[in-house]
Symmetry: C2
Subunit: 318 residues, 2 copies
């Protein structure tokens, strides 16, 4: 358990800190989606955020929270996903190095994206042990600050700024939905929502094939996923020691979603809302379309978490 929990004040300060750098993303509605789900959806478009994902908020808050003395040694993380790109861009904006540890078998397009934002990549064997070991070596050598993708308190506060904006732009929400992987977005969202709109429920959506958060909440302790296989590749990680208790105390329920519903949800948002979202962002939409809970008639804020996809390989092709 972390020393002290992230608060709404941390999220407010994060919002001020990242304001010069991050997009204030729009909240959009779509009559077709409303008709299909029976609810009123308010889509918080984090796919339109810098680097194409909410991850920029947390990384940016972490980087700009550092003292000048800390910052000059740079930041470091291990990630092959959106957090790596987000940290690289945030560091470039502050003019400091970002050291990114990536498995050697990461897709070329992800390597190129991180390098494109100026990240300094170190490749390692694709094992947890190699990753940790490589990262420790870099931290020892450079004095860089480690920014964990979701366990870092500054990251959680940054991710919470999306819900802060959503609530400010959309009064009277009954539910706010977000996908859950490591739980950084969900924790920050839950803290913001419960502080500002206590009656509003926070509901998470998770792939059936990576349902560690669902099982962990039922068991009352962290039960990690073992080699999860889902198209929602941003949600492969398991809850952490810091995110779990926040989620346990503030999140109403976690809905699990089939792979077919994730793909349907993704396609429907592309086709009807004209928004490119990645599979992870489609998980809450898939949950609504599968109708496992009755949200009909409710006003639901949905955080569309990101839009980084390979246009040459879409799930409804071939």
């Amino acid at each position: 358990m972390q020393a002290s929990m992230t608060t709404i004040e941390d999220i407010r300060r994060a919002a001020e800190r990242i304001q010069p750098y991050a997009h204030r993303t729009p909240v959009l509605t779509c009559a077709s989606l409303d008709r299909m789900t029976g609810a009123q959806l308010y889509l918080k478009c984090e796919n339109l955020q810098k680097v194409g994902a909410f991850k920029f908020r947390g990384a940016c808050n972490a980087v700009f929270s550092l003292s000048d003395r800390e910052a000059e040694h740079g930041v470091a993380t291990h990630s092959s996903g959106n957090h790596a790109q987000a940290l690289a861009l945030a560091a470039r904006l502050r003019g400091i190095p970002a050291y990114i540890v990536m498995p050697s078998n990461a897709p070329a397009v992800k390597k190129a994206a991180v390098a494109g934002y100026g990240g300094q990549i170190t490749y390692c064997e694709p094992t947890q042990q190699a990753r940790e070991h490589t990262l420790q070596g870099i931290l020892a050598e450079t004095g860089a600050t480690f920014i964990h993708p979701y366990e870092d308190r500054r990251v959680i506060a940054g991710q919470g700024t999306a819900a802060l904006e959503l609530l400010a732009d959309t009064p009277g929400l009954d539910v706010v939905m977000a996908p859950v992987g490591g739980g950084g977005l969900l924790s920050g969202t839950a803290i913001a929502v419960k502080a500002l709109a206590p009656a509003c429920q926070v509901v998470a959506a998770e792939p059936e094939l990576a349902d560690d958060a669902h099982r962990s909440l039922q068991a009352g302790r962290i039960l990690p996923s073992i080699s999860p296989q889902t198209i929602a590749d941003g949600l492969l990680t398991s809850l952490g020691e810091n995110t779990f208790p926040i989620i346990q105390s503030l999140v109403s329920q976690i809905i699990t979603v089939s792979e077919a519903a994730i793909i349907t949800g993704m396609r429907v948002v592309w086709e009807r809302a004209k928004l490119l979202i990645e599979p992870s962002a489609a998980v809450p939409i898939g949950a609504l379309m599968e109708n496992k809970v009755d949200f009909s008639g409710l006003r639901i804020g949905v955080i569309l978490s990101g839009g980084n996809v390979d246009l040459d390989s879409l799930p409804w092709m071939d």
Copy 2:
């Protein structure tokens, strides 16, 4: 030549009239696109408009401009594209019939879309003569009001409301760009821009393979396209008697764009801005990427005209 030209006052009244029904679409920026084009782009997202295209603005203004007595007989048009869907939805919102004449060989997805918005479709042979004849029959039989896709003055005023919003949200633009087919969007845009920001240039973009507007402006008279073949299937129509003189007097230049640049522009907007746009909407982006004119460093408003695409058949597939 039309009796009297559409004015900025017509556009202002249209904005009030459609406000309860149309989305005020966001204006978005994208650092990657700016880097690629060397300009500062402000994307007016009409792909996020109702029915996925700016066409809803003009159709909605036309339908809600009718007197109750006119309205009760319904509206009619011939179109297989976005105007047909837009008119069907606008009519449904007013609770009146929309009679749509479509060629029997129109794609099934377009027929379904018009029917989905409640349009009453009459099929005809795919010739200009059959289309006109079928429409005349319907008008005679029903007393419906014909709403031309771009020659109608109410339609032109409605299309101009996108630029009205763009200028209100984005001060100091040097250029506003729009694609040109029949010229409804371009005319309305030019009237709004020249009235509110006279120093701002209006620049159109047109497929090389459907370059009737470019040739017409050079010749000083309407030179229609003969069987144009371009992926930008919203821009196959030629300028009309009403749109041509507006464009002639207010538009600075028309840039022609290769098919390859249209596809590149479309893909880049999907990939980097995370916005689904149709090929027609990508034509101005293609013009900027081909660099046929030097707009470097300028603040450019770009109207992304629509986002209706078939996700099973994308131009970079196969």
